[in-house]
């Protein structure tokens, strides 16, 4: 099956034309208000090209992949593997380094449970010994992580007796890597360093090279949460030099229920499986089994197929626009949102106040106004933002705020929508009588 031709948006971004590809963006909400969708950090909308690719696959080639020898099984397997190939190329990986998962959360858990499985009992494949963790070992993460890149490591430590350590966040929303305390967070006991490529709240992009350098210096494995970077900017995983990375389809204009775990070939070869069953075996006897090489070893059961094809189409769509153009466009919107929101008395940005080393998630608080109440007023105007702790409770605690409001962008957002947000915030302040004098 060939890729569906994406919109030719050209080098200069024609946002109006792009928006025509997204049927949902033309609907109205709450009594006829045009939808202003500023919640792509939670989930992005999908263009017709992605929806069409899924439908076309299901109407012509649907079958269980990697089993059966009939015509449809063959076509379905080809389409599935073709999607894997294009997705791998999109993030600078080799095809056998891309494992399809349900989402990034499952990808990170796959690594954590693989390590866990390497840490229990005897008889583990000798190749997996390199992943063994126990008391005295340390796992490092950061205070700005999404719960998906924190709780799996807490649990891994609980199961193995390893110790969890973390880098703190500075008041301006950066990782503290240079204080005396921070200098010793990664040390000779460190086995894993798990960190985000872009904070889903602050927008902060931590210095990946420096973290990879420190991890490598002590022989620790790096795990990158790339959920908020791969959808919004060019990412080359080989160039970054990380050992593992995970991202989700639904945040990059693709379907939900599909995500990717990237692992360096040599490491996936050695990592024990997480979920076991059909498809992932090499040979099975009653006494035990041996396992297929990656990526099949990590894809037990009949996989999600139309979702993988949809994600392949999303990658084609983004590639046709160009990830440099996507990044530049979102950077413009972020810059404007930061400037205009900071201009409003009583509004405080949570995170870096400029676009330097920062992506398009803009979190903020409003003095005297709970985020839920602010979002209600915004929602009544058709503006969709995220409120709460955005699955980053420790980060909010570090900033001394209970919750925040987050606007997040994708390629289809416009400057007019940034202005609508700013006007909505002002309206919320007026409604609740909390405009600072």
């Amino acid at each position: 099956m060939t890729a569906i031709a994406p919109t030719d948006a050209g080098a200069t971004l024609d946002v109006a034309k792009i928006r025509e590809d997204f049927p949902i963006l033309s609907r109205t909400v709450r009594d006829g208000k045009p939808l202003v969708y500023l919640d792509s950090g939670a989930t992005s909308q999908r263009p017709r090209q992605v929806l069409d690719a899924e439908r076309a696959f299901l109407e012509t080639s649907n079958a269980a992949v990697h089993r059966g020898a009939h015509a449809l099984a063959e076509e379905a397997t080809d389409a599935y593997e073709s999607a894997r190939e294009r997705i791998a190329a999109f993030v600078g990986a080799d095809i056998h380094e891309v494992v399809f998962t349900k989402n990034a959360t499952e990808g990170i858990n796959l690594v954590a449970y693989g390590m866990s499985n390497a840490s229990v009992g005897d008889g583990v494949d000798p190749a997996a010994e390199r992943f063994r963790l126990g008391p005295g070992d340390e796992v490092v993460t950061t205070e700005m992580e999404h719960h998906a890149n924190l709780v799996p490591w807490q649990e891994l430590c609980r199961r193995t007796g390893a110790t969890l350590r973390w880098f703190s966040v500075t008041p301006d929303g950066r990782l503290d890597l240079d204080s005396d305390e921070a200098r010793s967070v990664i040390n000779e006991r460190t086995k894993v360093v798990a960190f985000t490529h872009q904070s889903n709240v602050l927008g902060t992009v931590p210095p990946v090279e420096e973290l990879v350098r420190r991890a490598r210096a002590v022989g620790a494995y790096t795990v990158l949460d790339a959920c908020q970077s791969v959808p919004h900017a060019p990412v080359d995983l080989h160039a970054l030099g990380v050992d593992f990375a995970a991202f989700s389809g639904h945040k990059m204009l693709g379907p939900s229920g599909i995500g990717v775990l990237y692992g360096r070939a040599e490491l996936l070869e050695a990592l024990p499986p997480f979920l076991t069953g059909g498809s992932m075996i090499e040979m099975v006897r009653m006494e035990g089994a041996t396992y297929a090489p990656p990526p099949a070893r990590f894809e037990a059961g009949v996989p999600m197929t139309s979702q993988a094809i949809g994600l392949g189409a999303a990658v084609d769509y983004l590639s046709a626009i160009g990830m440099d153009a996507v990044k530049a466009h979102e950077n413009e919107l972020t810059d404007a949102a930061l400037l205009k929101l900071q201009d409003l008395p009583g509004v405080a940005i949570v995170g870096p106040r400029t676009t330097e080393a920062r992506g398009g998630a803009v979190a903020f608080t409003i003095e005297g106004l709970h985020p839920h109440d602010a979002s209600q007023v915004l929602d009544d105007s058709g503006i969709a933002v995220r409120v709460g702790h955005h699955c980053a409770w420790p980060l909010h605690r570090a900033f001394g705020v209970q919750a925040s409001i987050r606007a997040s962008f994708h390629v289809y957002n416009t400057m007019e929508e940034v202005d609508a947000l700013v006007a909505g915030v002002r309206r919320a302040q007026e409604f609740f009588g909390v405009v600072p004098q």
Partner: protein, 148 residues
């Protein structure tokens, strides 16, 4: 949704603050937004449903809906028997979870009818129930004889 009654209770909450004596104290959290409420109950008199709610004191961090709802709970539940308080609670819960299809009984719910509009916003129902369900839990713990 933001009726004047709700905004009044939000700006000037009734019965706020944690007071002694009390038989049970509970801490409830809304995990989607991080809103928190601590509720204490002081019960006197009879057993079970016949006991009297002598005081409901609380400390809350949260949005206007959760704060105002807890303030209204204080007004409506204190001074009544546990049985009466539970009946009011049930009527209130039925209303806010009713997706706008439940006609509230103003005789039972008084100021709390202002929260009928919350039913149209499923994401906010938890906010409206936070303090009320904490009260229910606190009574259960008080009558089981302990503080958590």
């Amino acid at each position: 949704m933001y009726q004047e009654i709700i905004l009044d209770h939000y700006r000037n909450p009734h019965g706020r603050g944690l007071r002694d004596p009390f038989e049970a104290e509970v801490h409830h959290v809304n995990p989607t937004c991080g809103d928190e409420v601590t509720v204490r109950v002081h019960l006197t008199g009879g057993e079970g449903l016949d006991a009297k709610v002598e005081d409901l004191s609380y400390d809350a961090l949260g949005c206007s809906i959760s704060q105002a709802a807890t303030s209204v709970a204080h007004d409506l539940l204190v001074g009544h028997t546990v049985g009466e308080a539970f009946e009011t609670l049930e009527a209130y819960q039925t209303m806010v979870q009713g997706r706008g299809k439940v006609e509230p009984d103003e005789d039972v719910l008084d100021d709390a009818v202002a929260f009928a509009g919350v039913a149209a916003y499923p994401a906010r129902v938890k906010c409206a129930l936070l303090g009320w369900l904490a009260f229910k839990d606190a009574v259960a713990q008080a009558q089981a004889g302990g503080t958590s």
